[in-house]
Amino acid sequence: MNKPLPNTFRQGPDARGRFGQFGGRFVAETLMPLILEVEAAYEAAKRDPEFDREWRYLLTHYVGRPSPLWLAERLTAHLGGAKVYFKREELNHTGAHKINAVLGQILLAKRMGKTRIIAETGAGQHGVATATACALFDLPCTVFMGATDVERQQPNVFRMKLLGAEVVPVTSGAATLKDAMNEALRHWVANVADTYYCIGTVAGPHPYPAMVRDFQSVIGIETREQILAAEGRLPDALVCAVGGGSSAMGLFHPFLDDEGVAMYGVEAAGRGVDTEEHAASINRGQPGVLHGNRTYLLQDRHGQIIEAHSISAGLDYPGIGPEHSWLHEAGRVTYVTATDDEALAAFQLCSKLEGIIPALESAHGLAEVIKRAPTMQKDGIIVLNLSGRGDKDIFTVAHHLGVKL
């Protein structure tokens, strides 16, 4: 059956929270009424100018938005192809894009009368952002974090504790992001009355994928204005790393209907997509159901979930947001991969050429820019979402480079 392409890619999800066949609300009955409550509250908030005003005030005065769009001249010269721009989300308060959606969700939680916040975190960036917002709004905060990630992201664990959050190490499974999300969902089921679950990415049951995307779209909306001001035209390509995919959805969504703008989501290839150690859900996974949504998942042929691997804790997730799965099948966004080694090389190159230490997550995006920019015309424009800063990763990188700190 030939299905015509939609005339817009920006209308999803439908009333059931589906992007094509992806998304939905695959949760236990215990959670279902709560998911519906979040959806109703978010729909009401969206229509309330006061909610938007309050969120934008925080973005301007607390986060420091708009974040700059930086022409990376030395990197551009080094690569010898298209002009490379960085959307500098790493300059946001807390050092990554995560804070954009966290503030929106915390304002929503307050509207809903919730008095405590829980979150899951992989690299710790979302945990830090949530702990930060909870400090600002005087809300108790519990962050679930895989015990493996607690080990490799000590600076962020300490930050969360300084901010007053409780960090709960999760030891089930491989003790990474997937398991942290399981545990947060379990905790939420047991504390539905007073607790709001602040999800860090564009995954989970509807309305989370759409809601987190809406908040993160501020990235793409700003980028669009900034590139038009700087170049008088839209970019030829957008690039962003994808784990769950919130930074990528935020950059891509406002450009989805601009035909001339190519988009590349970069999955973590770990030690290589043909090894067993990667996190390339779209490139090597199959559609399935996990964490409340249907999406591409790393799984065996019996439907058991396979642990992901990436040097970047933030990409170490065996799934991806459902809208990405849909954009992949619709052919609108191209999903490529970068290995641990490619990300490490990009991490170092960016630090030396631009004086910007990128997060290992963002370094995966940069690895694709390093491959792609030289193949483009010199008057071409490629924009990378530099979604986070790399201070948190220096211990991991030092370890991989054989340096003792």
Binding site: T30, A190, H302
Partner: protein, 278 residues
């Protein structure tokens, strides 16, 4: 060719127990926990020990509604090679000796999707499965599986939670057949217990909306709690308490000891006696 069963074993069992004037003991263990042979021996022993209906958990790597005990059971079972096909084979073996005790498979959606939902429903019915509880498929998503379970003659048993409000209840119940599984706590399996008062309130609330039998689960551990729940409703589901007994009986490597089956079945006997005496 498989055909829908003429009379559901589940309906027949609840009718029989109603006539006998008592509630059902519903037991839950994971298939393949801790190995296929022990699992089959447990299944075969359950009816004799007093289990009226048997729930067989289908192991999944990410059981989001389950507490630590059942999470560990799933990992043991997966390590022992559990698959959905393997669990169906267990049920077929069980059915060679028992054609009346209802069997309900309880698990998560992804292994079913990987198997193929339609083929799974057909194979499950042909293997002697009577009903399914698919934890992470709420009524909102049920159109994906409900026509297929119905065509195969399988009951689709739904969870109703304390958070399921009056407005939502009819929608949840409308999509349910076999019996209602009332989750007595807002939480995951095996972590806390409901008060008698909250149960005494919840069951009549459900009765107003449904004629189906009601079984209470999540947080029933002791013979006294089981007896009370079976009296208030039509059945009591005991899972984590049995899984804990099984786990405690294993050796350091997580292997069954000679007494594993006996210890679990003794506990089932204790629960069954309490329900029969109340």
């Amino acid at each position: 060719m498989n055909r829908p069963q003429q009379a559901s074993r589940i309906a027949a069992k609840f009718a029989e127990l109603k006539a006998a004037g008592r509630g059902a003991l519903v037991t839950y263990l994971q298939g393949y926990d801790p190995d296929p042979a022990t699992s089959l021996a447990l299944l075969r022993g359950l009816p004799g020990a007093g289990a009226d209906l048997i729930e067989v958990g289908v192991p999944f790597t990410d059981p989001m509604a389950d507490g630590p005990s059942i999470q560990r059971a799933a990992l043991r079972a997966l390590k022992a090679g559990a698959t959905l096909a393997g669990v169906l084979a267990l049920v077929r073996d069980f059915r060679k000796e028992d054609s009346t005790t209802p069997i309900v498979l309880m698990g998560y959606y992804n292994p079913i999707l990987a198997y193929g939902t339609e083929r799974f429903c057909t194979d499950a019915a042909a293997s002697g499965v009577d009903g399914l509880i698919v934890v992470d498929v709420p009524p909102e998503e049920a159109d994906e599986i409900e026509p297929l379970t119905r065509a195969a003659g399988l009951d689709l048993i739904r969870l109703v939670a304390p958070t399921t409000d009056e407005a939502r209840l009819p929608r949840v119940l409308a999509a349910t057949s076999g019996f209602i599984y009332y989750v007595s706590i807002t939480g995951i399996t095996g972590t806390k217990s409901a008060s008698s008062a909250s149960l005494a309130e919840a069951v009549p609330r459900l009765r107003k909306h449904t004629e189906l039998p009601i079984a209470i689960g999540f947080g029933i551990r002791t013979p006294a709690q089981a007896a009370e729940a079976a009296k208030l409703a039509d059945g009591a589901v005991v899972g984590t308490a049995l899984v804990d007994t099984l786990a405690a009986s294993l050796d350091e490597q997580g292997r069954a000891r000679p007494e594993t089956v006996r210890l679990v079945l003794d506990q089932v006997r204790g629960l069954a006696e309490a329900i029969r005496q109340s």
